[in-house]
Symmetry: C2
Subunit: 209 residues, 2 copies
Amino acid sequence: MDSNIQIEEKIITTARQMFIDKGFNGTSMSDIAKEVGINRTVLHYYFRTKDKMFQAVIGGIIESIISRIKFYDKETKEPIPYLVNNFIEAYFNLFKKHPKLPMFILREIDRDADYLFTTLLSLKGESFIAELKCNYEEAINKGYIKNIPLIYVFYTAYGLMLIPFLTKSAAIKVIVKDGKEFEELLNGWRPIIENQLILLLSAPKEAHK
Amino acid sequence: MDSNIQIEEKIITTARQMFIDKGFNGTSMSDIAKEVGINRTVLHYYFRTKDKMFQAVIGGIIESIISRIKFYDKETKEPIPYLVNNFIEAYFNLFKKHPKLPMFILREIDRDADYLFTTLLSLKGESFIAELKCNYEEAINKGYIKNIPLIYVFYTAYGLMLIPFLTKSAAIKVIVKDGKEFEELLNGWRPIIENQLILLLSAPKEAHK
DNA sequence: GTCTATAACCTGATAGAC
DNA sequence: GTCTATCAGGTTATAGAC
């Protein structure tokens, strides 16, 4: 039977969206069943427990986030501003499509960081993070980017990237009337974070006053 | 009776800490009662509902966060680097003492932004935000700071300020061994965020290359 | 495969004895 | 004021009929 696979597929996609919007604890099996349009016990038939269902869903979410990272490639030698531009473009598109994703990932880090990293490493390989670091240090040694610890680049990039989405509902209370005006706010924010990232990364000759 | 007031005091302080650590939904009345060392129904005797108990606690939390904001004072005319330094100092101290506070405030914004702002305005006055904006615009007009929308200053300040604490448990998984090393990580981060804020705010003559 | 029925919890909240 | 007992509602999960 292929209606089997179809319904399993439908469960996973709607469950993914609901977990992103409301988090693990905020989403009940009943909610998911109602949204899919099936009996609650059917969920248990396919996945047995809520945890196993979450496991079937979290991989795709992590993949969609991590795949946005693109590092300095010694072959193509793309300039920093181009890389920064690409990075921001990719994440802005992702978060405009899933505005609750930033909150989701932080909530999950807070809830169970161990499990998140186990899943991440099983997806991208055990040495994923070590490879990132190695790649980054090589770019420093060749003088393409400033000598600054990788973690601070992450802090700058993700701190500035996530904050508008994390505080979106507050912004709509205070300075912006609707989603359309929020979009314009984002458009004004983009060049600022772009500039700050380039300033942080650019090799000394471009950066020093 | 004053044992009355004592126990009410004890309930509030431990409830505040537990709400900060686990959020509103993550903290049950049973948890609080167990931590205080009383019967669960005693909580209902003092506060009747969980919501009213949260109300008794949230004011102090908001106050501790908002009171850190210090804007340009036309009287004393303190220079931007000094103000930035003070701002970062105040929040780093607060978050080192309560590392879960950043996650708490974001979670509550996500859960009920309306209620949070109603409480904020009732504490600081209806025109609190308008006054901030007015103060800020005056500083721009007098040429003390660059002409950039206030919201983007908030995004930069809080984005860079919050991100290390929001991802602390992830950092401890990956790049840092313990709390002491995390402290050092923070010490290295501080001058960077300081520099970025000063660059963002400084009036044109100091800022342009 | 999908349903009903039910189990075994946990939640917030209240009534009433002491 | 503080307790026990109880309620009504929600949660995940399973057994068994069809």
